[in-house]
Amino acid sequence: MAEPATRALRTDTMVLSMGPQHPSTHGVLRLELMTDGEVVQDAIPHIGYLHRNFEKYAENLTYPQIIPYTDRMDYIAAMNNELGFVLTVEKLLGRGPRPVEVPEKAEYIRVIVCELNRIASHLLAFGTYGLDIGAFTPFLYAFRDRETILELFEELSGARLLYNYIRVGGVARDFPPEFHHRLRRFLDYFAPQVDVYDTLLSNNKIFLERTTGIGVLGVDDCIQNGWTGPNIRGAGLAWDLRKEEPYSIYDRFDFAIPVGKNGDCWDRYMVRMNEMRESVKIARQALDQMEERGLLEDENFTANVRGTLRPPAGEIYMRTETPRGDLGYYIHSDGSDRPARVKVRSPCFTALSALRDMSRGLLIADVVAIIGSIDIVMGEIDR
């Protein structure tokens, strides 16, 4: 006798382990997916595969020794990580008996390298997002142009990814001879390049189908989940620490804050594309102002920081705008040359924590689209 049809067709939920080695997870992230056919019922992120306990290392190192370790958190935007840490230490030192005066030239160099690093980071996000969705070509364009930035950084700091360049009191090295010409040539080349990317991917019909209306998170939910940076701007809130709490010399530049409308994957992606244009504007203004103020000939690129750095005792929290959002450093100092505690508030960590609630009821392919759109770096999540 034949089985009843209903019994033969009975389906069951299946556990699908995505990662830790999976190209679309941007590092070593494991997702435990409960699937009913193609529909995701639950997505549980498992993190910690890259955990080195940066915070414990920091307790055993002097302040300048910590800077290269900050590089290794978000290795895609190392300059921005360094700047956040250095500014926090400088702010604490500024309240003590021996404040550090950062020379004007160093401030401009810091802004330029951070904005270049933001472009490099967004290029990687753009290229790999294309790969996640199934478009290979944009990746090649993105990496070709990112390479030029990495070469400039190599010339400047000696390293391509992990720079140890921004130091307490200034930067490690001056611009090499004629460096500003090469910088300007790159900016002139790159500015129209973003339009090329738009024609390649942004308005592609398949890409639009895969990203519009997917992974929607409104402004209130973004705030509840601690989302910052391009992710919250994609939901339509013009929230940028470079404008809200201007640090370094960001109040001297004229730039817009790109925002999205609906808070879906496409909006978050598009915010990053537009931010590259704004970063070019900032870098150009910084170069112009350096020329006007005669800073290119100035050889004063770092304050004289002699002896051991001993910030005053106390606790301080400061945050800066990295390509991925608000990166905060909580430093507890006991007055010695090593911090008693350093806590890092990672923007990717909070972004990923919302993934579980967002994924319920979507297709497996949509989960991939969401992960790409929040642009996570596992090195910063696991620390």
Partner: protein, 168 residues
Amino acid sequence: MTPEEIHDHLLDRFGGDVVTGLVQSDESDPKSPVIYDPAQSMIGASAIADVAMFCRDDDALRLDALMCLSALDRGAHLSVVYNLHSMAHGHVAALRVDVPRTAAVVPSVERVWTTASWHEREAHDLMGIAFSGHSDLRPLILPEGWEGYPLRKDYEAQEYYRGMKVPF
């Protein structure tokens, strides 16, 4: 509002039994100042969830964003510091809870700010603070079955983890 004004506002609402003090900078000796930026309102551990809910919902405070949740080891005490920010008013505040090292239990604030969920799991992993009422305190960053709390000052790594030598 400044963190000091927010502290007074909390003191008016909850009284001195709950809001037990304000930890702030002391710059009277310019040679060795003590800096707290922002100043921290000390809250009794058992009341933190109520105070947090008030901070989020009170119209004058509207501290709707939890910027950072840090766990610290201060020797006899462990403490949790909540750095808050108001998107509506643009002001910041910091709450602080101290608990004895031997009984480190703090009520969870994940129902107030969703983002606290993972921050508390991280603090539980690395500093060994138990958050009562938390929906899911499984290890997040450390592997399943890891012994000890690495960020405590007296931490010593275990010799073997599942038969593997540590450090390998």
